[in-house]
Symmetry: C2
Subunit: 158 residues, 2 copies
């Protein structure tokens, strides 16, 4: 059996987008848009995904970056304030091992340039499988790169 | 509409019990014992309660301390390591307002006196309805008073 351990950590990511709060919120609430930047942005060979965006609803992704390693993301939505706030709890699994359980808050506020998103993750990182710095790096890619690209894409299409 | 706000906070409560780790864990895993110290200890006039202690299982309490104010606790269990660790996410509601969403870790470790329980709550406290210090106080009563009393009771009965 693995040595059991828990590292608790909180990290915060701020990002301003040139988009209205409503458009940033829609990138979460619209399943097609969410799927594009959250699931398909990495072009992984396997990505099974289901999404039910409502309080009490669940999101589940079953991914493999290389056809071998298995990554599972299980999310439950706990709080949704349209155009303003989303709170979800999620667990991550790698190759069947539960590596973390977190609560994450997405706050969206008007900003002179458009909208400011603040992502706060409060996580329990388990048994040495994952570390806060690594998770923060992954989340930064998600918001700085993939969501930014998605909102620029929508902007170009508008 | 209420002014929207989020206060993120983490607090930790340590407590040593004169009981084995297995007995402390059983106070969570056994629904009859859990019901006694978690639900009925306050002798509130209304306490509806359901409990399904397994990974993915839910716990729900619908309480009233005075027959007027309504308190709802909704919990999902995310991680269970027998005799050692329990991680759950939970939301609290007062009179229909969601006041918090938290992830909580209970770690149980052997101690020279019996078992040391470490409770770590990482919470998002919402819209000014609740505050970390108040929640911490409530949790301290739960572990310092009610669970301690329950374990002493079991000890006397043994």
């Amino acid at each position: 059996m693995t040595e059991r351990s828990v590292v608790h950590a909180t990290f915060v990511i701020d990002r301003v987008y040139e988009a209205t709060p409503a458009r940033v919120f829609r990138a979460f609430s619209n399943s097609e848009i969410r799927h594009r930047w959250f699931v398909r942005s990495e072009n992984w060979p396997r990505a099974e995904y289901s999404y039910d965006f409502r309080v009490g609803g669940q999101e589940r992704g079953d991914f493999s970056p290389d056809g071998k390693m298995n990554i599972i993301n299980e999310t439950t939505y706990w709080d949704i304030v349209p155009d303003a706030r989303i709170i979800f709890a999620y667990a991550m699994y790698i190759d069947g091992n539960r590596i973390s359980v977190s609560v994450a808050t997405v706050e969206i506020k008007p900003d002179p340039k458009g909208a400011k998103l603040t992502y706060t993750e409060q996580g329990a990182f388990l048994d040495g499988y994952d570390f806060p710095a690594q998770r923060e790096q992954g989340c930064r890619e998600l918001y700085d790169l993939h969501l930014a690209k998605e909102l620029a894409r929508e902007d170009a299409a508008a």
